[in-house]
Symmetry: C2
Subunit: 598 residues, 2 copies
């Protein structure tokens, strides 16, 4: 089926259902932020645009794909020859996709979408906006799915596995009890968990339905007495079945949540309407009352316990070993017909040698020279750059191990660097070091700290136009809230106070389009310091063990304090990783970590 045929078929169904405008976002039943299974890639299938970000709107006489600047070139290519117009997000004159969809609906008209991939809160907002012109929503039909028919990929069927208590520190029973305590405090009878990571944390299980994130498609529902896990039974193994049974968890089919929700009467239900899809929300009876609040498990996930911390450190040692081997290898092979893809494949292979390795924690960014200026660049077999022994190679990568999730960026000198490259590298390093040596009182958020990392760039009239850091899950998503390091204030998504046990990345950078991209990233652990008259002081502990790029550092730009911090970090990296390396690799590490003087 060609794109235009698909659009025509969709328009036929729209007419049948009396729908004027149909909106196809880029989401799954759980409103996941990042990776979704192929089953949910309706927008891509319909439009022919294969990129991950964007949405489609179809009216009687218009079809448009909205996507952001990272994808303009790709989208132009992929949409060429079809009736789908490219709507360049954030460009002058291009309306917001939701504004466009609402505006395109006529008086008394109908805006349609698949209610299972739009959140209840978004649907409410759209409905309210439409009511001004007596228009309404139609949310009960997945029209793209109907056109797609038998060609549609199946829902993924990855097997579940148990994450043992030696990795998690606390058992499923304890986690269920802890969550029930939060429900009790909130006076909630029922907790509905829709974010994919939440049931995983709660039941200590993981899955394999989504790229780079060890989670299954599943929901959970908790009451004071019962725990329900909504997951396709085919995904269970004897081990997981026994584990869940022991924890008192009742397994039900993935689709059973809607009917179970429909049975609730006069209950106080805790759920996050930004993460509950419209179909599930509409299943709720009016006799219930809803506490619309972030799931308590978001914070439980964010604050790691001592066992998790010990394990995370262990994962970072394995990761550091792989990174050191990679750094040595890539520098030594830069003149041997390497390209971005062969380099990143070598890193994938090195990381996979680590004990308990599961998968990459995200798609590696291996970007040579100017490619690194594209923050979300990803080399593919079709589209990549050759590497030569000069300039910078930026590598942002990570692994999910059974003991922890890693995320690290190193910008590597493959040969000679010019003065600008060195200066910029050193300025990024200054910001990176300033954040990691911060000491701060309890109550501080990432909004308070961001300037420490960003300041050196701002001092040069440069900005890196993204946050400085994000939370990292434990054998879950590599990007997790509720905290982060960023300077902008978003009242609807406030940066959580930094709590001891939280993990956050420290990744300032410089990105000059067409020129270069530099980023340095470690993971940091929020740690308790002195407690005195003024309160509880906190500081960061580096979780990442990997030398910085000494060839790119201009020592004269560093203060004594920064130089001392840098050398102390390198000494520690060398000490921690040495036992796991030998021969030339050990020698290389020692040289990479040797004292840097003025």
């Amino acid at each position: 089926m060609k794109t235009d045929e698909k659009i025509a078929a969709l328009r036929g169904l729209m007419e049948e259902k009396g729908i004027d405008v149909y909106y196809v976002p880029n989401g799954d039943d759980h409103l996941s932020d990042e990776y979704v299974a192929d089953y949910f890639k309706s927008k891509s299938w319909l439009s022919g645009f294969s990129g991950d970000s964007g949405a489609v709107v179809v009216t009687k006489d218009f079809a448009g794909l909205w996507t952001d600047g990272r994808y303009f070139t790709q989208a132009e290519k992929e949409l060429a020859g079809s009736c789908v117009e490219l709507m360049r997000m954030a460009q002058a004159g291009v309306p917001d996709v939701r504004d466009f969809a609402v505006d395109a609906v006529p008086e008394n008209g109908v805006l349609g979408f698949d209610g299972s991939v739009i959140s209840a809160s978004e649907a409410m907002t759209l409905s309210k906006r439409l009511s001004a012109k007596h228009a309404r929503l139609h949310t009960s039909d997945d029209l793209v799915g109907q056109v797609w028919g038998k060609q549609r990929p199946k829902m993924p069927e990855g097997k579940l596995f148990v994450l043992a208590k030696k990795y998690t520190g606390t058992g499923a029973e304890e986690r269920i009890a802890q969550t029930r305590e939060a429900m009790k405090n909130a006076e909630a009878d029922v907790l509905v968990l829709t974010q994919l990571e939440d049931p995983c944390w709660l039941f200590n299980v993981r899955g394999d339905d989504i790229a780079c994130t060890p989670v299954p498609y599943a929901f959970a529902m908790l009451t004071a007495k019962k725990a329900y896990y909504y997951v396709d039974r085919a995904k269970l193994t004897p081990q997981t079945e026994a584990h869940l049974k022991k924890a008192g968890v009742t397994v039900k089919g993935y689709k059973a949540l809607a009917s179970d929700l429909a049975k609730l009467r006069n209950k106080t239900i805790w759920t996050d309407l930004a993460k509950l899809n419209t179909v599930l929300y509409q299943a709720l009876d009016q006799s219930n009352s809803v506490i619309n609040r972030r799931s308590p498990i978001v914070m439980f996930r964010a604050v790691k316990n001592n066992t998790e911390i010990k394990n995370i450190r262990n994962a970072h040692v394995k990761d550091g070993v792989a990174m050191v081997k990679f750094l040595k290898w890539v520098k030594e092979h830069a003149d041997q017909n390497l390209n971005e893809v062969s380099a990143q494949n070598h890193l994938y292979a090195l990381r996979a040698e680590g004990k308990d390795y599961i998968e990459p924690s995200f798609t590696t960014i291996c970007a040579y020279r100017a490619n690194a200026a594209m923050m979300h660049y990803s080399a593919t077999g079709q589209d990549y750059a050759e590497i030569s022994p000069d300039g910078f190679l930026l590598v942002d990568s990570g692994g999910t191990y059974k003991d922890g999730t890693t995320d690290i960026t190193r910008t590597i000198a493959l040969g000679a660097l010019n003065e600008t490259e060195k200066k910029y590298y050193t300025m990024v390093l200054k910001g990176h070091l300033a954040l990691s040596r911060a000491k701060f009182l309890y109550g501080t958020t990432g909004n308070n700290l961001d300037i420490l990392a960003r300041g050196p760039m701002w001092s040069m009239d440069i900005d890196y136009q993204c946050g400085t850091g994000h939370g990292v899950g434990h054998v879950l998503s590599v990007h997790e809230g509720p905290h982060g390091i960023r300077w902008g204030m978003n009242p609807s998504r406030p940066n959580a106070v930094l709590e001891p046990g939280m993990v956050v990345t420290d990744e300032p950078g410089i990105y000059l389009p067409g020129e270069l991209g530099i980023r340095i990233e470690n993971e940091l652990l929020v740690t308790k310091g002195t407690r005195n008259f003024y309160g509880q002081f906190l500081y960061f502990e580096d979780l990442t063990y990997c030398p910085y790029e000494r060839e790119a550092i201009v020592p004269s730009l560093l203060s004594d304090e920064e130089l001392a911090q840098l050398n102390a970090y390198h000494r520690n990296v060398c000490e921690v990783l040495s036992p796991y390396l030998e021969g030339e690799e050990l020698e290389w590490l020692k040289q990479a970590c040797a004292e840097i003087d003025r």
Copy 2:
């Protein structure tokens, strides 16, 4: 009348009116934050406690004065022998004064207060809390005023004066037009201005009713066609009368606002319910609708125009000259029987020599050694320390001139300092310099920047437990919002984005109770820097011209960047102030500003 007699008389009136609990806060008709006229010091008159902070609650069988830690010793002394109990705020077991007042009201009971000194929003909150026990408010009687009777001080009668356009840059007509534009955008028919600074800014008049702030007790009301100024006619001079007439302003009596508000019907009224007193709010007819929002003039006042900026710089030159003369004098006279009061009186006198000087912009803090650890210490004729030629003298002072308002703190070495004093001084200086050299993108708030100033103290496990900086008015209050530099997030009082033209102080410190207090404060002007691809960069320009304490600086603790910044500042101070000094004073300035090396 003794305190207990006053309390007894108040209880008699409470019984007459059927009031169970009477609440006496520390405020005026305008809900002013700082200075109030003696007329409004009901709490002090009733309780015998003369301090500025606090509130009194009286029930049938209890009378308590709430005040904070700064005043415990004073309050103990002044309350001794009376029936009024000292309630030490923020101490364990001491309830919040409002919580106490609400809790003390019985089922179906009555909480009374003078509605003219409690804001509408606070009254609403109290009323809502009381409704749970079917209790209500009584707001129409100033019972303390009735007991006070003829002994009560008169309302102040300071004369108004015009602040000429050469000082303000824009005339009253322009300011009225600008404000009407804001009303139009907000679709407001009427703007009610209750904060004392607002009518002053709007009409370019000033007054003399309150200590250290050149404002009269007055209200204003603006419509699309009319401008009303509610002020006691006795305060007018022929000049101000003519000025107001020319600007199209109708003068009415101070008390006439309530009746004018009562006449409004079917209007959309813009007012800030946190700054509108309850009596005025209750005067409004139900047919009106209220836009409860900060007055637009708060932002107009905060963003200085070019004329104001030029004048403010001029005021700071005069201020710097007075400060330099003072610094030299106090260091040379530290061994000549000086005390905190004689020192601050000398500074008052020096500042008064400045052209267009009006008054101090706040009560000087002149605090020797450990006294400086009390952030709001104020030496009085009864209570002061003798000065000897060693240790630190902290002097926080400022002046209001017709061209601007100043606020500066210097911590002065009167003689030998120990290593700790020098180290701490240098760390405070590091924070102070870091904030002043910040460069930042438009959109930044003081929450983002605070850590620059506070970081050096936090790195030593020390906090200064207050904000780093506040906005400064133009010939108005020395403390003005809506911006500031502080790290805590207060959702109900968000830190405004820093706009070019805003003035803010930079005053980190170290306060060790019983030991020492160090603070260094300059005023900074938010200034436009580069505008490029990333946005509009801003930076700070120092408005304060006065050398730091070179004898307290440990150069080895400063980075090259900090040392260069310090020396550049001193060079500029020397260049700016030199033309206004001669002889020994000029020599002293040159030495105070001489290059500092490692």
